[in-house]
């Protein structure tokens, strides 16, 4: 008689399957260790490694490729000429999209897009008067197209790509055509404006230290602060979130979005996040400056 077979065979599955099926339990296994660690093996206050490349794209006034962890964003800045009277409140229009996406955008993508436009407007990144074209009633407006190369909606990486691209943006010198005219809003005529192919001038930003976007999570129960959330597992397990847009040092904060979820977010949490954010902003400034300085920039 053969030995009794076990009633049910034990199931074995890969850690990846475990993470997909039960992300909160998977996350908990890591974070309950002493000292706590995340599935990506980062410590709670450790940020993702960041790489920035600038001016890699042709046919743009400025461009950047920013990678933070697994999220990659590419930003290209172009411009077009409009009549000054038609100019809206912003001289910079942003659009965020996912590479290879078809059909109408998902609501989260639209939300990120709107957040970027509003933050850029409120942050007042540059003085729009430098875009006015002299001796004409026309002005240049900049358009920033940000493409996300990963499936994760990372507003902070998209914003970083925008900042890096603006930091290296050069506006071509406008040249008034002597053979063609255009109609202005008040029915006068003016020379058509073309761009010089040789002369450019740097876009002057209102910031020496750029206002980077940094995100945090606050856990339910323990109230542990996690810096730089990334991935489906962390997003499912950590409901409380704080997103801060600030530059390094004593300067003021431009944006603070807070959503508690199930967690209790205290003033100490907020203070801790602001302090970490400012340090990270200084770190990102330094990464960008090194990048530009090493000749990759211009």
């Amino acid at each position: 008689m053969s030995e009794l077979q076990p009633f049910a065979e034990t199931l074995s599955s890969s850690p990846q399957l475990f993470a997909r099926l039960l992300p909160t339990v998977y996350f908990d296994k890591y974070i309950s260790l002493d000292p706590p660690i995340r599935p990506s093996l980062r410590s709670p206050t450790q940020f993702r490694p960041c790489r920035i490349n600038t001016s890699a794209l042709p046919n743009t006034f400025g461009s950047s490729v920013v990678r933070m962890g697994e999220c990659i964003a590419v930003c290209g800045i172009t411009g077009y000429i409009i009549d000054s009277s038609e100019a809206g409140p912003s001289a910079l229009y942003t659009n965020v999209d996912i590479v290879g996406r078809t059909g109408p955008p998902q609501s989260e993508l639209m939300s990120v897009s709107e957040w970027m436009y509003e933050t850029a407007l409120a942050a007042n990144l540059f003085d729009p008067t430098q875009l006015k074209i002299e001796d004409t009633a026309q002005t240049l407006v900049l358009q920033a197209q940000v493409q996300l190369l990963s499936q994760m909606y990372s507003g902070d990486v998209a914003w970083a790509a925008l900042l890096a691209a603006l930091a290296v943006t050069r506006i071509p010198k406008p040249v008034l055509a002597d053979d063609e005219e255009t109609l202005t809003a008040d029915f006068a005529t003016e020379p058509v404006v073309r761009f010089s192919t040789s002369e450019t001038r740097k876009l002057e930003l209102n910031y020496d230290s750029l206002p980077w976007c940094i995100n945090f999570g606050v856990m339910e129960g323990t109230g542990l602060v996690l810096a730089d959330l990334e991935g489906r597992v962390e997003e499912a397990s950590v409901q409380g979130s704080i997103t801060i847009v600030t530059s390094a040092g004593e300067s003021s904060i431009q944006n603070l979005s807070l959503s508690a979820g199930n967690s209790v977010i205290s003033k100490d949490h907020i203070r801790q996040c602001i302090a970490l954010a400012k340090r990270r902003a200084a770190e990102l400034d330094s990464i960008l400056k090194t990048q530009i300085h090493n000749g990759n920039g211009l």
Binding site: P89, S107, E108, M110, S111, S113, E114, W115, Y117, E118, T119, L121, A122, Q239, S252, I253, Q254, N255, L256, S257, L258, S259, A260, G261, N262, V264, I265, K267, I270, R271, I274
Partner: protein, 246 residues
């Protein structure tokens, strides 16, 4: 002299149960903002959207003028973040709670959406109550704007800073060029007492102390907004119970 003593404050008013083909409805008016929210639920849900253990929440925001844009998506996302934890979703699995927020008048100046967001959160909560959707606690929201005061104006803070709380559109447009920071803050309350901060959107240029001070001021305002909601609910119940009077 606290911030609240000298800041002008618009009174809010709410009415409920005026739409007949939905489970609950509420209207919230504050300053020049007017938002109407309808709630239906728990109702039947598409198989595609069905969740096995919790109710599905669908929020639609419709603008006062123009077509739906990314701005409405942004508002929808923030409103969802507030109510996803307040509504007791696991009491009604495999159902739908449908919330439609109609902006009748935004009350915001062109570049802002703070009044729309705070008024929408308040109106949504009142509508959920009216519909009888189970909720864990009370939610109330407010808008606080800090601006640089002109030389002749009395300012409530050192350094010439003025404060507006739940302002009207005219008040916003008057100080538009001098806005320093805009804060939309929502608190959760239990038994009329502040429990915790649930949502906050702060935009502009502000320091750590200013934003934390804004949270404190907002807590006091939300407590008083909670009182307004209580009165509105009491009035509503009294109206509905009229038939009991003999």
């Amino acid at each position: 002299m606290t911030v609240l003593d000298t800041a002008r404050r618009s009174a809010a008013s709410a009415t409920t149960s005026f739409l007949y083909r939905v489970d609950g409805s509420a209207s919230w008016k504050v300053g020049t903002s007017h938002i109407i929210v309808s709630v239906s639920g728990p109702i039947e849900v598409n198989k595609r959207d069905e969740l096995p253990d919790v109710a599905t929440v669908e929020i639609v925001v419709r603008p006062d003028t123009g077509v739906t844009s990314t701005r409405e998506q942004f508002l929808q996302d923030r409103i969802r973040k507030v109510f996803a934890t307040v509504i007791v979703l696991d009491l009604h699995p495999r159902t739908l709670i449908q919330i439609v927020v109609q902006i009748v008048q935004s009350g915001d100046s062109k570049m802002l959406n703070t009044m729309t967001l705070s008024a929408s959160i308040n109106a949504t909560y009142m509508a959920l109550l009216d519909a009888g959707v189970p909720v864990r606690s009370t939610v109330s929201a407010t808008s606080i704007i800090y601006y640089k005061t002109q030389a002749d104006e009395v300012s409530s803070w050192p350094g010439g800073v003025g404060v507006l709380i739940d302002p009207s559109r005219t008040e916003l447009e008057r100080i538009e060029q001098d806005i320093m920071s805009v804060h939309t803050v929502a608190y959760e309350l239990k038994g009329g007492k502040i429990e915790r901060l649930v949502l906050s959107e702060s935009v502009g240029s502000f320091t750590e102390d200013q934003v934390l001070e804004a949270y404190d001021s907002a807590a006091k305002i939300c407590q008083s907004t909670n009182e307004t909601m209580r009165e509105a609910v009491i009035n509503g119940v009294q109206q509905k119970s009229r038939w009991r009077e003999t």
